[in-house]
Amino acid sequence: MRAIAEGLLTDEQPPRLIGGRERETGRIVYPCPPGDTCEPVPLGREGRLWSYTIQRFRPKTPPYAGPEAFLPWVIAYVELPGEVIVEAPLVGVAFEDVKIGMPVRFTTIALDPDAADPVAMPAFEPIAAGDAA
């Protein structure tokens, strides 16, 4: 499955997110912006839930390009320690079990699994107790 955009995910399997380290300040941002102010850096795979909400209505199209059939999802901000807090869906968890501070791991999901040529987008999933890497 190809990534939804160039320069977003590393080529390895499984992929990591690519952030941008500002050459002047060392600050890390995501995604890595075009131009030469930032150097692309792979981001850590594991972090903790910083905040979240649940997207309960289908976003307007355009720009949303997901499936017509809508199911609510968790939109998460995940703190990758010492790097940056990134925004992506959190999958594989019941809404009532989502807790700020819970450990999560990077993964990818299909934006529309039923599409003819599905694209991969960033996401996170919970790290189960006793499942730490």
């Binding site: 939804i4 955009a5 977003l8 952030g19 600050r27 890390i28 941002v29 995501y30 995604p31 910083w50 905040s51 979240y52 909400t53 649940i54 997207q55 309960r56 209505f57 976003p59 307007k60 355009p62 720009p63 949303y64 390009a65 997901g66 999802w73 939109i75 901000y77 703190e79 990758l80 320690p81 010492g82 790097e83 940056v84 807090i85 990134v86 925004e87 869906p89 809404f95 700020i100 934006l111 987008m121």
Partner: protein, 391 residues
């Protein structure tokens, strides 16, 4: 110029939905009402600053008001557009260049959530394609973290919304003027957790005009002196958490709230006015969602983070409380026409300072009506505007 800049006339086109009347026409309606209120004619107006985000060029209203050759500058500055127009109008008088002018704002947005596109915010297209170009996600995620950090309950969010609709019953310009019971607010469908549909404001329509004059001119007009003691507009500091943010900076101590444009604009306004939060008798705080009012109480210096739970339980922000907040129902009850929204807050403050609030009139510390009034807006991509009025 000596003395203060004064607000000598106010006008408003009712907020909500007015089919068949354009945004510009709603702005013209407000200007005409403000002129009549001030007792001045359009040809006397020396300059205008006009704010609109999505309803056309404000200066096109000279067609309807009269081709007097008046200086008319358009302002487009996100949610701070109205505040920026007011700041600019104030400076035009303070500089001594003019002594009578207008700040006007209007807007007319389609139904449903604002439909922003990534390119307008310097973001890649994929960010919109995956469904993250949605303002409500940010507002909900911001309050979700704040609630966890400072012990704010979802019930308190409901109490803010319940107060808004109850206050709006007495505000003729408000949109949603039916009281909604707290249980109905809390049990309504969730839009973006923890917010139910009653806890978010909606894009709307409306227009507001304020006539500003030098103190000397205001005395000539014989109007009660409503002094604009401070008008500030600021942008965001480092590490702030803003709408449409694919990433947020990590910070060493993340147990305290982060800096915001609101904190900077507020501190600057109190500094300019030479008074503090305890001196304010009535406040209009940006409440695009119920939690925004709660967070903005602290960001504007009125209480400590976490004290809001007790403030609401004790009714301190009610019309009869020590600091009435959003006396006309705020954005929750009036909706948010971006260009007009910040000026509506100032309109409401002028009404309160004049004692014209009717069923929503604030009595003030000594029962003789409020003497000071505060307004605050916040919006994308991290802008805030504050005013302080005094009579």
């Amino acid at each position: 110029m000596s003395g203060d800049v004064c607000i000598v006339g106010v006008g408003i086109h009712p907020f909500g939905r007015t089919d068949g009347r354009s945004g510009v026409e709603q702005g013209v309606f407000a200007v005409k009402q403000a002129l009549a209120d001030a007792g001045v004619e359009w040809p006397q107006v020396q300059f205008a600053y006009g704010a609109s985000d999505a309803a056309g060029n404000p200066d096109s209203m000279v067609d309807r008001l009269g081709l007097t050759g008046v200086q008319f500058i358009n302002v487009r500055n996100g949610c701070a557009a109205g505040g920026s127009a007011l700041f600019s109008a104030q400076m035009a008088i303070k500089s001594g260049e003019f002594d009578l002018g207008i700040a006007v704002g209007f807007d007319k947005h389609p139904r449903g959530a604002f439909n922003a596109l990534p390119a307008e915010y310097n973001l890649p297209d994929w960010y919109g394609e995956v469904g993250q170009m949605v303002t409500t996600q940010f507002f909900a995620a911001k309050i979700m973290r704040y609630m966890a950090m400072f012990g704010i309950s979802q019930r308190s969010l409901g109490m803010v919304a319940e107060k808004a609709f109850r206050n709006a019953v007495h505000a003729p310009h408000a949109w949603r003027r039916r009281p909604v019971p707290l249980d109905e607010i809390l049990e309504a469908p969730l839009v973006s957790d923890p917010y139910t549909k009653y806890m978010f404001c909606s894009p709307a329509e409306g227009g507001v005009a304020l006539i500003l004059a030098s103190e000397k001119k205001a005395r000539e007009l014989g109007k009660p002196l409503i002094r604009l003691k401070a008008a500030t507009m600021r942008t965001r500091p480092p590490h702030s958490f803003e709408v449409f943010a694919p990433s947020v900076d990590v910070v060493e101590d993340d147990t305290r709230p982060r800096g915001t444009a609101s904190r900077i604009a507020s501190a600057a306004a109190f500094d300019v006015a030479g008074i503090g939060p305890d001196d304010i008798d009535v406040a209009q705080l940006q409440d695009t969602e119920a939690g925004a009012e709660i967070m903005h109480m602290a960001e504007n210096g009125f209480c400590a983070d976490g004290d809001q739970e007790q403030w609401l339980a004790e009714g301190r922000t009610e019309i009869g409380g020590v600091l009435p907040v959003n006396t006309d129902g705020g954005c929750l009850a009036c909706g948010e026409p971006i260009g007009a929204s910040g000026l509506r807050q100032v309109y409401e403050n002028v009404v309160q300072l004049r004692g014209d609030g009717g069923g929503r009139q604030v009595q003030g510390k000594d029962g003789a009506g409020p003497r000071t009034a505060y307004s605050h807006v916040y919006g994308a991509p991290g802008v805030s505007a504050v005013t302080i009025l005094e009579r």
